[in-house]
């Protein structure tokens, strides 16, 4: 959807705003609305008109759109500093795309910023006056520096090892200007050249170097760049010489990886790999840019290159009042992964699935209505083994003499420890011998130690049961959501069947599909309501919440049952009526739950029973 969407200048200005860098969003609401209105028609995911309280405003950007944003920043810097594009983008990347800071620092000490960013060498003279570098860039469309070496191979071998010293400290000032590449023929063109990395001394060896004049053969440069980009996911590629801090500008990398038309064709496999590396490099640049802005997030789905912009969720404090569920708009897995066939994607449950994720945390699904911090806490609790300990506590006791842990799995209260043969009473934990004649019924039940032990035990059991109550329901809905893949397939069959057995057309049986989608959506909501309920503090608010939850759950179960019911030709009209009605109802109930919780967060109505970051401490403790 975002491929056909034209990136407009207005948005760029919006991001230029200083506020964005700070991640604050106080006065941004107005412009955000405007933005949505302009593009609302192009977006299925963007809510039209007034958005619901449980939805956040966001925008999906294609890689191209983000590149345009980057380009605008670069152009801006070019205009101010009078440097070429490559220098501007290296400077911006060095300052984590914080334009204001860059301008401030650069105005203060341009040389040291240029050196720190890896644009120019240390002890360099100040950058050339504005304008000059532009002409430089314009007159250097081809910065490759093929050098033909006519010297014999023998000579090269002989002088190779001795020329091991690199021309690192070349004192010539001309190399230090921040232009991207050297074009001057090497001064030592007559000497035999041996690449200090691969020790290749072939004549006609093509070589390259950055401004620092550390010259190596083109093959080594290519291998180096490929290794850095593909193995290390590195977007800042420094000169290969030890301790040299110059960073290769984009144009240099492009020329290494993408041969210009007319250049001798490499072997096709290598060429293809290089082209892929170039694509990957561009993606890394975009990812780095996105990572520098709090209001941007890269889509976490495999091989998706879209970015979502959500300024309202950019600050950490905003995450206590909103759940920023967003979608990049794409569906399924990108076509780049050809290894995954359609059926495999289907098996993974990724086929045609919209890329929905949470902007505020790493959960790759919709966790409304519960906020990020609480959802995270819940997932951690479910993963932890802490509940195993809880189980042991509730189901076992320790032998009073040897302290072995014992689970009573039946029989009477007369326990004999397997290990130390100690005989004791399970109820009062006292020695069995003291029971005298009162076999099988403990008359010491109310004595001091017994009361304490029971209290501790029942408390632990109650907390475990409470957790299990919520967990089982949570897991149940999660399981159902996983099974929805099957349900889709089943429903599709049913829809076909209906078209055959009744006079309904394709469009008329779509109500089934709609219902299945709605059920899946509601189950996701329901799942997280159990997490929310587990952590909600007791009180009227919680009761109201649970009432809403119950109504939604009942509606969803009713609809599910209808969907699973067998189809008889004569009752299709009634079924259709029922399903359609119930779908609308379920949709309404879901909205009520989401809207009520979202409003509650905005009003600060919810109280937790545990400490949650950004909220007051709980009054009650569990």
């Amino acid at each position: 959807m975002s491929s056909d969407y034209e990136y407009s200048d207005d948005d760029g200005d919006y991001y230029d705003d200083e506020e964005m860098i700070d991640g604050t969003q106080d006065d941004e609401e107005g412009s955000g609305d405007e933005m949505m209105d302009n593009f609302g028609d192009d977006f299925k995911v963007a809510p039209k008109g007034k958005h619901k309280s449980y939805e956040v405003e966001y925008e999906s950007l294609s890689q191209q759109a983000v590149e345009n944003m980057m380009q605008q920043d670069v152009d801006h810097i070019c205009g101010i500093f009078g440097v070429d594009e490559d220098t501007a983008s290296l400077l911006l990347r060095h300052m984590k795309w914080n334009k204001e800071r860059l301008i401030e620092k650069y105005m203060d000490k341009p040389t040291s910023v240029l050196v720190a960013a890896g644009v120019s060498l240390p002890e360099a003279p100040p950058p050339p006056p504005p304008g000059r570098t532009h002409t430089n860039a314009a007159t250097q469309p081809n910065s490759r520096r093929p050098t033909t070496r006519g010297t014999s191979k023998l000579l090269g071998l002989a002088s190779g090892p001795k020329s091991a010293k690199l021309p690192a400290s070349s004192p010539t000032a001309t190399y230090a200007t921040p232009k991207p590449l050297q074009r001057q023929p090497s001064k030592k063109a007559d000497d035999a050249f041996v690449c200090q990395i691969c020790f290749n001394d072939a004549p006609n060896l093509q070589t390259l170097s950055l401004d620092c004049e550390h010259t190596y053969c083109t093959d080594c440069w290519t291998d180096y760049v490929v290794s850095k980009v593909r193995d290390e996911s590195e977007h800042s590629i420094r000169c290969m010489a030890e301790g040299c801090a110059l960073v290769a500008p984009d144009r240099f990398i492009r020329e290494i990886l993408l041969p210009e038309p007319g250049a001798p064709i490499l072997d096709s496999k290598k060429g293809e790999q290089n082209a892929k590396t170039w694509i990957r490099f561009q993606e890394l640049l975009v990812r780095y840019f996105v990572a520098c802005y709090h209001s941007l997030k890269f889509c976490p789905y495999p091989s998706c290159t879209n970015t979502v912009s959500c300024p309202s969720a950019a600050s950490k404090s905003s995450l206590t009042t909103i759940v920023p569920t967003v979608s990049c708009g794409a569906r399924g897995i990108g076509s780049e992964i050809q290894d995954l066939t359609q059926s495999q994607q289907f098996g993974l449950g990724l086929h045609g699935k919209e890329h929905i994720f949470c902007f505020g945390c790493p959960i790759e699904s919709d966790h409304r209505p519960v906020i990020c911090n609480v959802a995270k806490m819940w997932l951690k609790k479910c993963r932890d083994d802490s509940e195993t300990a809880n189980w042991i506590k509730s189901n076992t006791k320790e032998c009073p003499t040897c302290q072995s842990t014992i689970e009573k799995n039946g029989g009477c209260n007369h326990m004999t420890c397997k290990k130390c043969k100690h005989e004791f009473c399970w109820v009062c934990m006292g020695p069995w011998s003291e029971h005298g004649t009162a076999w099988y019924s403990c008359n010491r039940y109310d004595e001091k130690t017994g009361v304490e032990a029971r209290d501790a035990q029942s408390k632990s059991r109650a907390s475990l049961e409470r957790y299990l109550h919520y967990y089982n329901r949570w897991a149940n809905h999660e399981q159902s959501a996983k099974l929805s893949v099957d349900l889709y397939a089943k429903t599709e069959k049913k829809m076909e069947e209906m078209q055959i057995t009744s006079a309904l057309t394709w469009i008329e049986v779509q109500f089934m599909k709609k219902a299945v989608e709605e059920v899946e959506k509601c189950r996701t909501t329901l799942k997280w309501t159990y997490c929310m309920a587990y952590y909600l503090g007791r009180g009227n608010e919680k009761e109201l919440f649970e009432d809403n939850q119950r109504d939604l759950e009942k509606a969803v179960e009713d609809l599910s049952e209808l969907l699973e019911s067998p189809i008889e030709p004569e009752n299709i009209p009634t079924l259709r009526q029922g399903v359609t009605n119930k779908t609308v109802y379920v949709q309404k109930r879901n909205e009520i739950v989401l809207e009520d919780t979202a409003k509650g967060f905005l009003e600060g109505r919810w109280r937790w029973n545990v400490k949650v970051e950004g909220f007051d401490d709980p009054e009650e403790q569990l």
Binding site: P161, L166, I197, N200, Y216, D223, S227, D231, M240, E242
Partner: protein, 217 residues
């Protein structure tokens, strides 16, 4: 010829031809990508007189990715793991440059022995020892050099007649009087005291109860 193979062959040959640096590189088996490097311990350090061997594995993407090196010889040094020989050195990680060679890397290792970086340690225990009591650390390093790297041993002529236990105390960088105090508890008192870093000014801060607790673990 494969660029990597050509480069490695040349590096090995260069090293053979160079008589001044005292750095040696040998093949371990048939493969030119699994090598053994060795160099003498630098003069004026506790490692003087020892001979240190290093395991070298050359990765597929060498020289664009760094070589993998670890000490075969046991070394008592804050930036070298006393258990595995793993090395903490920037040029073996992010500061690697394709221009660096096996020889230059081995020279860097040699100079690492001269100038430990206890603030960026590989072996926290050794680094703690180095920070709290340099002279005791030096004794241990000399001892390790003697035992594992064929070094000359301590320079003072105390004679080696005091038996095995004394040596163990010295390796751990402890004092015999301290060890004897806790000897009654457990035969692992040297280990425990070493873990607690029972040395120099630390002793005042470690109560006997704490030591006993550690012993009973």
């Amino acid at each position: 010829m494969d660029a990597r193979l050509r480069r490695v062959n040349k590096e090995i040959a260069d090293c053979k031809n160079d008589k001044t640096s005292q750095i040696k590189i040998e093949l371990i088996d048939e493969s030119p990508f699994h090598l053994k490097g060795s160099f003498p311990g630098p003069e004026g350090t506790p490692y003087e007189g020892g001979y240190f061997e290093v395991d070298i594995v050359i990765p597929e993407s060498y020289p664009f990715q760094p070589v993998k090196m670890k000490f075969i010889t046991k070394v008592y040094h804050p930036n070298v793991s006393s258990a595995s020989g793993a090395i903490c050195l920037d040029i073996l990680k992010d500061a690697w440059s394709p221009v660096l060679t096996l020889k230059s890397t081995l020279i860097s290792l040699q100079s690492l022995l001269c100038s430990p970086e206890p603030n960026d340690p590989q072996d926290a225990e050794v680094a703690k020892h180095y920070m709290t009591s340099k002279s005791s650390f030096d004794d241990t390093a000399v001892y390790w050099t003697q035992v594992y790297a064929g070094g000359p041993g301590p320079k003072d002529k105390k004679g080696k007649g005091s038996g095995k236990e004394r040596d163990e105390v010295a390796i751990a960088g402890l004092e015999k009087a301290h060890v004897d105090r806790f000897e009654q508890w457990d035969s692992k008192e040297i280990d425990a005291l070493r873990r607690l870093n029972y040395r120099g000014p630390n002793i005042a801060q470690i109560s006997d109860d704490r030591v006993v607790e550690e012993l009973l673990k």
